[in-house]
Amino acid sequence: MPSIRLFICACAFLALIAGQSANAQFGQPESGAVSALTIPQEKTIQIDTLNQLLKSGGEKPVILQVGSHVMFTQAHIPGALYAGPGSDAEGQHLLHMRVVNLQKNTMIVIYCGCCPWNRCPNVGPAYAHLMHMGFTNVKVLYIGNNFGADWVGKGYAVEKGE
């Protein structure tokens, strides 16, 4: 019996080490478990509010698309930068590189719009990553359906290409 207990403890320890090393590269939380529904409502920004902000003469936020590159090249918010899908390690690395030199109080707006809000795999992990990096002024654009229906379909301006 003690040998079985020892074996179970060893397996648990190895699993813990493996999990930590997988996440240690960029120091981010496990992405799969972070749903968009975990983002506090006060940390979201509505489409109309963002558009008013972009039209105003004030300081513009850094806008990052954290979803599909194929969708980004078809259409994205003017001025937005592609930051990779938040749901995978490669995307989180690109996001990390996009923001690593920014002041921690920079206003950052992230968005995806690949799927309905409650099914989006990207914004939750991207938001969590930015929080983990210490950014204090991050907003997540609330896109209820998808970018096509809620932004392009409503006539808001877009840019194409890289």
Partner: protein, 166 residues
């Protein structure tokens, strides 16, 4: 002077057209389905035009899209059920790289061709800016319907059956 005014108007028109170009391209329903030719993940070439005479269910999807994953087994089932009656399912993966769709297709073997999409193909179909998106294409090659997002699969199957009966 009128030509200067006309050129100004033309310049403004170009800017507006570029800005809202994606929106303006959104109407493929009721028109001939834009033709394309792509090498599928199994190495065979897929030309949409070759399926004239069949009802085509053209599904844009991605491996990271949860609602898309729910639809895949149904489309595979429909391909088996209605294939002899003239249904052809064609899937277009909007993943950024082929590795993930390739692995999934090898695993589930859907029984219909899967090609990789890109921004050009998305734009050709009016902008694929949210997934899933499914087009129903009639036997004459015209797009009958664009279905966006999670859909009622029972209703969609009825529409497919209706198109096959035409």
């Amino acid at each position: 002077m009128p030509w200067r005014r006309a050129s100004k108007v033309a310049a403004i028109a170009v800017v507006v057209a570029c800005t809202f170009g994606v929106r303006a391209q959104q109407g493929v329903t009721g028109k001939p389905a834009p033709n394309f030719s792509r090498v599928a993940l199994d190495g065979k070439t897929v030309r949409l035009g070759d399926y004239r005479g069949r009802v085509v269910l053209l599904n844009f999807w991605a491996t990271w899209c949860a609602p898309c994953q729910a639809e895949l087994p149904h489309f595979a089932k429909w391909q088996r059920k209605y294939g002899a009656q003239g249904l052809q399912v064609i899937a277009v993966s909007m993943d950024d790289a082929p590795a993930a769709p390739y692995a999934l297709v090898r695993k589930i073997r859907p029984g219909y061709p899967v090609v990789m999409g890109d921004d050009a193909l998305g734009t050709l179909y009016g902008g694929i800016l949210g997934l899933p998106v499914t087009f129903l294409i009639a036997r004459d090659g015209s797009v009958v319907e664009r279905v966006e997002g999670e859909t009622d699969l029972i209703t969609l199957e009825m529409r497919v059956a209706k198109l096959l009966a035409r």
